[in-house]
Symmetry: C2
Subunit: 277 residues, 2 copies
């Protein structure tokens, strides 16, 4: 499956999908680490959030999103959503004839590499915590590392509201990180693709509550690092010298998506196309 210098797949974009906006934090890291790659992003905004759906429904929605990207021509699929990564990754890998990366395995790997005390805290949505996906992924990499999950249900609405500075996000993060501090963790995994938008606050609070040696692991960044290594190892990286382009599609309300996307992406998203699934 390794690409040659003339492998036509090299020129195809990387497909990325999420139920909504959060996956753009993964796109941001991909564009930082792999600036020459084209990215085709799909946010399934008509059916967001996935987190409260049954596994069967999540499987069905994920398959539809993946096929929409594959039919447009991509060389690799990134599932930029913790819920889908926890529930549907194996099915997508079995059904699709291309490489599929999720966000949980890279985040778990980065957490194991970062912890000195072998005690890792995970902040995520209630659904991801309940799924136990980070516990399993970390246990597969290090049998001696203990994992402590804490659902942080205020953080997604804080990010979507744009309440990123000041007392409200700081106090909320203090409460969540404080719950992890009781377990003496030295790593905090951002187990939801919304949370990197609050990374500055979370890092400040973690340094105070857990000590200056504490590390915040961003699953979005870890995923982009894994993608970069994967493309290099398989000879699938873009070979051109031009800057990669981002094309963005959503299934509902492209304007409201575009208005908020910059907060996740770090720059203006440009035109957003609406598609039907």
């Amino acid at each position: 499956m390794s690409g040659t210098p003339s492998d036509p797949r090299r020129g195809l974009p990387i497909g990325v999908f999420d139920s909504g906006l959060g996956g753009l934090t993964v796109v941001r890291q991909i564009r930082r680490l792999c600036p020459e790659e084209d990215v085709l992003y799909l946010g399934d905004t008509a059916r967001v959030p996935y987190g409260t759906r049954s596994p069967q429904t999540i499987l069905r929605y994920s398959r539809t999103c993946a096929r929409a990207l594959v039919s447009r021509g991509i060389k690799l699929l990134v599932v930029a959503c913790n819920t889908v990564s926890a529930v549907a990754l194996d099915m997508l890998r079995a059904e699709l004839d291309l490489p599929v990366l999720g966000v949980i395995e890279p985040g778990a790997g980065a957490a194991v590499a970062a912890t000195r005390r072998h005690r890792v805290g995970v902040l995520a949505t209630a659904g991801t915590i309940a799924s136990g996906a980070y516990e399993r992924a970390i246990a597969a990499r290090s049998s001696r590392t203990e994992v402590f999950g804490r659902a942080a249900p205020l953080l997604v609405p804080l990010v979507e509201e744009g309440w990123l500075d000041g007392d409200v996000p700081r106090l909320a993060v203090e409460r969540y990180v404080g719950a992890l501090a009781e377990h003496d963790v030295d790593v905090v995994v951002l187990g939801c693709t919304h949370y990197p938008v609050l990374r500055g606050t979370i890092e400040e609070v973690a340094a105070r509550a857990l000590g200056a040696h504490a590390r915040v692991v961003d699953s979005a960044e870890a995923t982009a690092e894994e993608l970069q290594a994967f493309l290099a190892a398989r000879g699938l990286g873009a070979t051109g010298v031009r800057a990669g382009e981002l094309r963005t599609m959503v299934t509902d309300r492209p304007l409201s998506f575009a208005n908020v996307a910059g907060r996740f992406l770090g720059h203006d998203v440009g035109p957003v196309e609406q598609i039907d699934l």
Copy 2:
């Protein structure tokens, strides 16, 4: 349809349903105003939240819940959920052979009665605001009253986390009520059944931001008042002298429901039964 003193329906409980916990704030007001009534509560915790579902799905879920209550014998159904009241009330009224009360119409009526400036603010979930249900219900009662909605997505997670005191809820409420103050409203409607748990904070903030004359209208309380008047007018009130009983059913995780229910109900909920729908 009016009951006689010996009407056997008088002795039946009032059925109340919600997608989860929030409807217990309505139960609390019913038990305060109609203490002799038995209440049969159903929280559809297996499928919570409804707010992000399609109208078709909400209709289907609501029908199942309503039938589960009707099959157990109730004299009247209270839909203690703003989302279902906005989407499914007409369908339930058409299909069921008993009176059905929602929470939006009583809340809208109380808001129109309370406003002096004819400017009403509504705090609710994004789905209820987007539905325009309060605007329509208020317009049907007063053509001169302007309605200003503000989605308040942080308030449900604050209530479910139990963060009811201190800076985080106060600052969040200040931000939301402040957005309504720009429109010079003198009434704030609590348009989500979770919000009465934060009523104290909301009233304090409203008094400061909107003036001491400002009123906070609790749709849960307004619904119980309408129920009380309805039972009296139709001769359907319980005739016994004993205190009414509350029986509680959920579709998933009865223990975690019981642990949090007291926050909504104001007292311990007692045993919670799990049923399949």
